[in-house]
């Protein structure tokens, strides 16, 4: 089990009701964090439509997460 700080944005934040929480999760990759928190962010988007960052760097969904990492879950973006 790893302690992961999860940060939610936009729709995900509204669904989770919080912008950030610390969770103890049995996860190996960023995609695992997305799946493990699905009940919180309530997204049915395929991960491919969303983006993820680990510790302030954009990351691939199969990037490994370590104990103490912060994982940023981004719903589909719409800048501009």
């Amino acid at each position: 089990m790893k302690t992961i700080t999860v940060r939610y944005f936009a729709m995900f934040r509204e669904h989770a009701g919080v912008g950030e929480e610390s969770l103890t999760l049995d996860v190996q990759t960023a995609a695992d964090v997305f799946a493990a928190t699905r009940e919180r962010h309530r997204s049915s988007e395929p991960v491919g439509h969303c983006k993820v960052a680990i510790n302030d760097d954009m990351a691939d969904w199969d990037a490994p997460v370590a104990d103490g990492d912060t994982v940023f879950l981004f719903p589909p973006v719409a800048g501009g």
């Binding site: 944005f9 936009a10 729709m11 995900f12 509204e14 669904h15 309530r42 997204s43 049915s44 988007e45 439509h49 983006k51 960052a53 302030d56 760097d57 954009m58 940023f72 981004f74 719903p75 589909p76 973006v77 719409a78 800048g79 501009g80």
Partner: protein, 146 residues
């Protein structure tokens, strides 16, 4: 340089920063809040951004544009917070020796900004509903327009 701001965007000052004695061409793009989107009458927009990463990724896009199109200067400002109809949400400006590079770089930058920056847009409709743009399948939501 990319900047995020909650203040109104003032294109004239931004333009002057791109002056260069070797620049023969200047191209600018602005995204304005318009009163309708996909058939819904829009009252105002709300932009949310994760600024540290938006800036990091924005700088990367600008550097790619400068290298690829040999521009002289390329800047961008993106607004966040609550915006009204007619407000400027994003400004992109490019100066270059010739117009080909100025147009191509400006277009490249705005296209990349729209899909790569961690920025989200919530539309508030005249009928009281609201919805996150591009998030049609982010699961059911009480006031989603999806």
């Amino acid at each position: 340089m990319i900047t995020m701001t909650t203040d109104p965007i003032l294109p004239d000052e931004l333009r002057d920063n791109l002056f260069d004695p070797g620049a023969g061409a200047y191209c600018a793009f602005e995204g304005w809040v318009r009163n309708v989107n996909e058939g819904h009458a829009v009252e105002r927009l709300e932009y949310e951004a994760y600024e540290p990463l938006a800036i990091k990724e924005g700088e990367r896009i600008l550097a790619e544009a400068r290298e690829r199109f040999k521009t002289l200067h390329a800047h961008c400002v993106h607004r966040t917070g609550l915006l009204e109809i007619g407000d400027c949400a994003v400004w992109v400006g490019v100066s270059a020796p010739h117009r080909d590079e100025a147009f191509l770089a400006c277009r490249f930058i705005i296209d990349a900004l729209k899909v790569r920056l961690p920025i989200w847009k919530k539309e508030h409709y005249v009928n009281g509903d609201s919805g996150w743009v591009n998030c049609g399948r982010c699961a059911a939501h009480g006031h989603s327009a999806a």
